[in-house]
Amino acid sequence: MNPLRKKNQSRTDNVEENVIFFFWNNKKYFANKGDSIAAGLLANNQYVIGRSFKYHRPRGIMSAGVEEAGALVTIGNGAYTEANVRATTTELTQGLSVYSQNAWPSVKFDIGSILNVLGRFFAAGFYYKMFMGIPPFEWGRGTKIWMFFEYFIRKAAGLGQSSRLPDPDCYEHMHTHTDVLVIGTGPAGLQAAISATEEGKDVLIVEQDYAIGGSYLSQPDTVELETQIEVLKKLRVTILTRTTAFGLYDDKTVGLVQVMPAKEYKTSSKKPRQQFNICRAEKIILATGAIERSYAFINNDLPGIMSVSAARTYLNRYNLLLSKNIVISTNNDSAYETAIELENAGATITILDAREQIGNKLLRQIAGSRINLHLGSGVVKAEKGLNTSSIGKIKLVEFANNKWRYAGNLSCDCLLISAGWSPVIHLASHQGYPINWNEENACFLSSGDNKSIFLIGSARGIWTKAGCIQSAKEIFQYNSRKKHKPSTVIGGWETPLAPLYEICLHNIKGKAFVDPQHDVTSSDIRLAYQEGFISVEHMKRYTTLGMATDQGKMGNIIGLALMAEALNCSISEVGVTRFRPPYTSISLGALAGRNRQSHFKPIRRTPFNNFSIQNKGVMINAGLWQRPWYYPMESESLEAAYIREATVTRRSLGICDVSSLGKIIIQGPDSTEFINRVYTNPFSKLPVGKARYGIMLRDDGLVFDDGTTWRLSENCYLMTTTTDNASSVMARLEELLQVRWPDLSVQVTSVTEQWGGCALAGPNSRNLLTKIIDDPSEISNESLPFMGIKQVLMQNVPCYVARISFSGELAYEIYIPSDYAQSMMEFIWENGQKFECCLYGLEALGTMRIEKGHLTNSEIDGRVTIQDIGLSKMASSNKDYIGKVLKNREKLTDSDRPQLVGIFPKDKNKTFKAGALLNEAGYLNGHPLGWVTSVTYSPALGHWIALGFITGGLAYVKDKNIVLSDELRSNFLDVEIVSPQMYDPEGLRLHG
């Protein structure tokens, strides 16, 4: 093959300003503006582009579109590297670096092609069989032999290599709403956009190519295209190029990805590299065109073999005549137009038509030319030329007595194939619209639903341009309430095609490719049949047909046809696998958009956040919240810090941010009744000004959440929830009030973010409180007893004070309106300096609650009953509440259920971790007796302690020797099982 750029053509004049340079494997070349990478490479006589996936055979350019299975390249450098880019659809830009891939040391000579010689080992099912061992002794059965081969396979297989650097680009998301979305800008798509706009519709038209026009671009002149574009511009229709509609989803939603040209992102521009656009449309028109098929013959993957339509595109769009001497093998009328154009451009043309007869109109068209026409003819084998890796010779066959027979050789450096067309019905298939095999045109067709999803043009199986345009006009010429009945005739060729999927003769051997990207051959399909993998889904997985980046756009139908032949049935009986999005590969960056790193999830900060950071607080993620973890002094470690914080708090005073607790205001005449139904313990006698700890169950009787609820007035409560469950408790209460008990007159409002919560804990907490609230008499032991709540003024700001303790010390929680939180916290902290005082974080909070046996979500993990956590006395028998009935199910009331206990190491110097198992000494194997949920060093007790669950609880294991086992860390130690209230079990410290 020796492609030539034609001179003096209007579209891309070889004037200097139209010439750009690029690098191919680090060597500088020149191309024309508007060239695809493939066109630029062909213009420079570079047509061996890479090596194939499995056998490392040389691969060239096979098409001019998205179906490309051969010419995959890597573009860009460093962090901007992009692998597996289709050379046929990517625009060449000034200075672009392009690299071949999957070839070592070079595309011309590749070590891996030795695999080609060993090819019989790599037939379909190779990997599966290796797991079974090598016959006859199943040597290496299992993983050993697999590991042996894997080393070599991993080295050789695979496609391009991506950069391992972080992606420096930015990606955007957007949403679009439109009346009509037209996908494709060929003759049908442009006409549909015009007709829809004329009907007064808002229209968006998208094109995956960087140029508008679809098959118009491959025509010798562009007059028609320019006229249509003018009309669209006048009608102000939005046209997006470089935009792929990659998937059709429920409710008429289409996923679009727009990819900016390479030159944009090579600069330091902050413009997004790609934009992910979720488009919703009332009508979606698929004018997605059709893809020309090849057929299987030996060495049909040699560089220099291409589709007929590709040659037409290179000729008319890029001014490239592929060769002076071209052979066309076809089975349909569509190739003839291209043949005439190629001849006019100066090539000698030979047509091998598989049909024994063609129509008179077609014969008249070529009558005046010098085209050599052979009817009933095809190719059985292509052979390499001398000193080249591309095609040099073909073996011909002719059709006689209903079979092919050898008919001599022909020298040929460029072979074009057209074995029929496959309409692009992928998007319709994504939504499960029926797909039917059309025998006459040898293709799968779909018609969408003809109400909101339409297929027009060659995507509907219409082969003539006039027919395509007519099919677009038709959609808008009917009453929109009726179902559309398309009148345009499918097909449109003078003589029907002759189905052609493979030509083989038993005495001519070699590899005939069905899926050239994954190196699946026709014999692989037969092997799948022989071994019983006859359903399409099995065949696909066994042979990997259609599983490469091109998703079998060229090869799938050949595979189905060969399977149908083996099964002696029709293609429609073999069936087709449903297409899945994306239509062409899209980058993860586009799907992630700006939701990366710190923007991956929303961040919630408490009103005290700045205060914590100013005071050197180290923050930790707690769900979406940022909570202070510990406040190191100088270079203090986490361990040293939390031990100091807990010690100072128990000795004197600690201050902690507890704002992330869920806070819900419950109001209305039935609020007491409502709270009574939600909590297991009674609330009807809770006086105004008091709080009560409550347990909430799920409908199935297991524990849902816990927290305190404060009675602010007769019909108004403040409920607090755990940080983790704040949103689910809120949704749950709303569901109960709106769906289950609409008769209750109650309103719930989340006020979590309206109040900053701050805990003061330790023997000096009341002393500090006395200094900071405006009227200290309100918080004396008498006026604010344990579990008392009160609205007080602090610096004239109304705040709530509740005498609640999570630490087990005399403690208060102050709720401050969020807007005042920062300054108020500074005020509290300043006054705290009059005592020995510290700020404490989540770690010290955890330590003190474990010492007291208080619960968090480590214990209330959705699997425990109220008895399991030792709170069965909180389950009232005098009232009804959610979960009351099902909590009494047989298995939930067994006395040998794991129950909450405290754990001490017998050797007080030993440490251990959460997640360790508890066993009886001598029974380390099998099902354990229990497990450890929370672990801490206890400054109050002077050794490590834990909470956990153990079968039967304290009573059952009282006289047993229990061993804690952490197999992963090889840590085994004797432990003592104790009551979960490990520190101050009488609760004397609470009362100060």
Partner: protein, 94 residues
């Protein structure tokens, strides 16, 4: 990628809503027998086709809704507020 027409907020993307449960479930009285609670909590129709289900407009007005949806095609036939009194009120005002 369905859209749900919230009676308060209008047509909104499904990502703003959370699915609740099949709406035909009637929860028995809090003191009903174990079997009726068992049925309500554990037994599901798992309808193939049209069913009414509850959804909450979590990232919107937080209303619980009754959505009639085809579980196969995801087509939505009707949406109304689950709270019966609110339903009536919204009718009066419109």
């Amino acid at each position: 990628m369905i859209q749900i027409e919230c009676p308060f907020c209008g047509k909104r993307d499904q990502s703003e809503f959370s699915y609740g449960r099949e709406s035909q479930i009637t929860f028995p009285a809090l003191n009903a027998d174990e079997n009726s609670w068992y049925d309500a909590v554990f037994l599901r129709k798992n309808t193939y086709g049209r069913q009414i289900e509850t959804w909450q407009h979590t990232h919107g007005c937080r209303s619980w809704l009754l959505v009639e949806r085809d579980t196969v095609t995801h087509k939505i036939f009707s949406v109304k507020l689950a709270h019966t009194d609110w339903q009536k009120q919204i009718k009066k005002t419109t």
